[in-house]
């Protein structure tokens, strides 16, 4: 028993040491974001001589932070809401209807999990529809790209809701739409939270689609961080401050929705 306890303590120590591989970079970014240009260049882990809070003000002015925040909230927010609406309904039909369309829809839509996005030909579609470099184009693309995984997630969840519920509601005179929005959708809340958080994050963090199809005035925060790095490459104190600023929204999401996020990602994957 005693040997087992000691072994456990050794493991705890080993893991705390391993976790430093993750903690030290975060500390490096944070503490150097408060140093002067000369200090930050050395990437030291010690405290700054004088805390340079003004770095953040500079980044706020030069980094286009608010614009990027707005872009991200608009594109990722609207897309996520659209995804919830479209995929919860589609998944409901897929898991309930016995028609061929339901089976076809399942395989058709889930093919997107494996097949990569055809970026170049997508440009043609956007061009023809006059959607290149527009918010609407981005929103529709992101909504599409998030369909397969979200439907997959909802599908697993809807299967656990008994069918009898649908029939009772319809007998009570409810239309299919009222049945869905008043009875089924509220029961899907845990899945909806997961779909919301995961898709919001994926869109917010997306690189390829924004890079191919939108100019920098429509980029979300991580994209503008990269552009900022390109311009201020030797001003690490500012780059690090921008890292912190652009990470804050995600950090908040992580703190408040960690359970949804982790469980959702793991569950979503495991159910496959």
């Amino acid at each position: 028993m005693r040997r087992k306890k000691i072994r456990k303590i050794i493991w705890e120590v080993i893991f705390i040491l391993i976790s430093l591989v993750y903690i030290i970079p975060v500390w490096m970014v944070f503490i150097n974001s408060l140093k002067t240009r000369q200090e930050a260049k050395k990437f030291g882990l010690g405290l700054p001589q004088v805390f340079q809070f003004s770095n953040y003000a500079v980044v706020f002015r030069e980094g286009g932070v608010l614009r990027a925040l707005f872009n991200g909230l608009l594109v990722a927010g609207v897309s996520s809401l659209l995804i919830i609406l479209v995929t919860s309904m589609a998944a409901f039909y897929i898991s309930r209807s016995r028609r061929k369309l339901a089976r076809f829809g399942y395989y058709y839509l889930l093919s997107g999990i494996f097949i990569p996005i055809a970026m170049i030909a997508t440009y043609m579609v956007l061009f023809v529809l006059h959607l290149t470099n527009t918010y609407l184009g981005l929103i529709l693309m992101f909504t599409t790209y998030c369909l397969p995984f979200s439907i997959f997630l909802y599908n697993g969840f809807i299967k656990m809701i008994p069918r009898e519920l649908d029939e009772v509601a319809v007998i009570d005179g409810s239309t299919p739409l009222r049945l869905f929005f008043q009875v089924i959708f509220p029961l899907l809340k845990p899945a909806t939270m997961t779909v919301l958080v995961i898709n919001f994050l994926n869109i917010w963090n997306n690189v390829e689609t924004q890079l191919f199809f939108a100019s920098s005035t429509k980029w979300s925060m991580p994209m503008t961080l990269y552009r900022f790095y390109g311009v201020y490459m030797s001003d690490w104190h500012l780059v690090f401050a921008d890292v912190i600023i652009t990470t804050l929204p995600v950090l908040l999401l992580y703190i408040f929705a960690q359970r949804n996020l982790i469980d959702g990602l793991v569950m979503g994957a495991v159910k496959g």
């Binding site: 309904m89 039909y93 209807s97 028609r99 170049i120 030909a121 790209y145 963090n205 990602l265 793991v266």
Partner: protein, 297 residues
């Protein structure tokens, strides 16, 4: 019972529930994918967007002549193999160790998982600092413990750049894989181990005969996830090395981006056509192989 007969499912579940999803998916995903298979045989350029002319196999001839494309495929596959092995080997190892009921499990879970929610761009900017050859903390630490000879120009030396990009990707995504393996481990019935202990099985036998077979579904998920992500890799390369030094880290998705930038859209479509076929075949083959093993075991 009577009421079940009065309402057929067709009266409750209407096709318009699924039509928006199918419509969007068709316009923005299927049409481009199918379109690629036509546009790949044309001389389509950004200068004349709406009038691509059929030019036979010209694009494919170019593709075989240009060394860069073959190298890009090789690099994508190399990245996929290294990261699949790294993420799964380390992920499983860490999950096994974490599964012993450590008190710090909650803390570790949050710490390991956090980078996964960051943008790959933020992670890259952080690593561009860490890997800075002169002052970066990696080389500084190596020098401080007397291993100065191991301090390299990680991202700027052809010999190490690709492996460094792989390592950054493993660092960022390891947490997700640990968690999936942990979930799988926790679902295994503890009594099985008790029975094995009575039979006198040692730790390795227990792992081989009980843990691994019952963990196969998690292995399937983790391998598939990391493989598909690995073959499609773009962001890490774009932000860490921009394909360089030379072409050392140019992967297919990055090559397609470069061609897109040059305006030779027909050529780009041809490359991405081959890419789509390669990814689909590899992913489905691996999935089929792993799922078959699950059943057998």
């Amino acid at each position: 019972m009577r009421r079940k007969k009065r309402y057929s499912p067709d009266q409750i579940y209407k096709p318009y529930f699924i039509v928006p999803a199918i419509l969007l998916f068709t316009v923005f995903f299927i049409i481009p994918n199918v379109g690629t298979f036509f546009l790949g045989f044309t001389d389509w350029t950004t200068r004349d967007m709406l009038h691509p002319q059929f030019n036979g196999l010209e694009n494919f001839r170019m593709m075989f002549q240009e060394k860069g494309v073959g190298l890009a495929f090789k690099n994508s596959i190399y990245f996929a193999v290294v990261t699949v092995l790294g993420k799964n080997f380390l992920g499983l190892l860490m999950a096994l160790a974490l599964n012993q009921g450590l008190k710090t499990k909650g803390y570790l879970r949050s710490v390991f998982f956090f980078p996964y929610v960051l943008s790959v761009l933020s992670v890259s900017v952080i690593f561009l600092a860490i890997l800075n050859p002169r002052y970066g903390i990696l080389n500084t630490m190596l020098r401080n413990v007397g291993l100065g000879s191991l301090a390299k120009e990680w991202l700027w030396d052809k010999r190490y750049a690709m492996n460094t990009v792989c390592a950054v990707s493993i660092w960022q995504q390891l947490g997700l894989h640990i968690l999936i393996y942990l979930t799988g481990l926790q679902a295994i019935d503890k009594e099985l181990y008790g029975a094995a202990m009575i039979d006198g099985a040692n730790a390795w036998q227990k792992f081989k005969r009980i843990t691994l077979p019952l963990l196969m579904p998690s292995v399937t998920i983790n391998v598939t996830l990391s493989l598909v992500g690995g073959l499609k890799v773009f962001g890490e390369v774009f932000s860490l090395t921009n394909g360089g030094p030379g072409n050392a880290t140019t992967v297919v998705a990055f090559k397609v981006y470069e061609i897109f930038g040059s305006g030779m859209l027909g050529y780009g479509a041809a490359v991405s056509m081959v890419f789509t076929v390669v990814i689909s075949v590899i992913s489905l083959a691996i999935l089929y192989f792993l799922q078959k093993r699950e059943v057998e075991l």
